[in-house]
């Protein structure tokens, strides 16, 4: 049996915005054939590295772009792990942006309703606020921005989304 529910929301509701600062964003470009090896290196790492957020894109059929955002304290251990792996020539490109900041938010019906990404990205673009990376899946929206911009992003988005009253 299929159940269909409908709802209407005047202004998109969120549970509020959260910010994390002092983060490092790694961008690793590699051939799909190198994915298993890099995955094994991550799987077998012993430093207890935890990410704050991850993203993988496929810019073309022969390149994968892996983004790993983590606290700055994990930058050196990850860099060391990647340098070992890179010696095999498997990494096409490795870039690090640090420090960067992340703003993320969730809301009721996120994942089930339209317009959240458009509202978010077009609002920030209209204000000239740069986005390094973003992702929406499940009921979450994550936005990575350069240092010192997360508060302005939060204040800007608070004007177009409904946030809990304090």
């Amino acid at each position: 049996m299929e159940t269909i529910a409908v709802y209407w929301e005047n202004k998109i509701k969120t549970y509020g915005f959260q910010i994390e600062r002092e983060l490092s964003l790694f961008q690793i470009s590699l051939a799909p054939s190198a994915l298993a090896g890099l995955g094994a290196a991550f799987f077998n790492e012993t430093s207890g590295i935890h990410f704050s957020w991850v993203l993988v894109q496929q810019p073309s059929s022969h390149v994968l772009a892996v983004y790993i955002l983590l606290a700055q304290k994990w930058e050196q251990p990850l860099q060391a792990l990647l340098e070992c792996y890179r010696e095999n020539g498997n990494v096409l490109e490795l870039r690090t942006e640090s420090p960067v900041e992340m703003i993320f938010f969730h809301g009721p019906h996120f994942g089930d309703r339209y317009g959240i990404a458009d509202t978010t990205l077009s609002t920030l673009r209209g204000k000239g606020l740069p986005i390094l990376a973003a992702g929406c899946t499940g009921a979450s929206v994550y936005i990575i921005v350069p240092e010192h911009l997360s508060a302005e992003v939060r204040d800007t988005l608070s004007g177009v989304f409904d946030t809990p009253k304090k």
Partner: protein, 168 residues
Amino acid sequence: MGKKIRVNGIKLSHELIHINILPKSDKRNFNERFLRSMAENRINLPFLSYSAINRRVQGSFCIAAEDSGRLNQILALDPPLKESVECISPVGSVSLFPHNFSLKLFGCLMHVFGKACLPLYGMAASLSALTVTTDFHLLDRAIELLKPHISLPPNHAPFEPQIRIKSI
């Protein structure tokens, strides 16, 4: 590979269409144009990834397969946009939760997909889940390949959502 990673559950999506905005086309803001079209036509995006580093912009999105008719209508009315998108279908997503922000689980997914040469169109973390998209007909195979590396609660079976919410 090391010992198994504890995972509390696996969720599968319905059939989806994966859409890449071709990187060469963003000088005309096709990512923004595509998102606006989806919002205007009330099409939900259950998966989105976007990056804009070093002047290289890459956007990828998923929509429900049932929205394919409306997508085709939108693209037919906007030939430049149509030329700037690549559609892959049917795809589906596998979500493992919780991820516990574990690089090991992220690495496990990468290793399994890479070793089996399963297409990996995108992967992203949410608050608690890691979601990866691949060809729809390969979802079951992906789970079978993951099982040796993860520990699931007894009697757990990957599930598909039974309720679909449609916004008006």
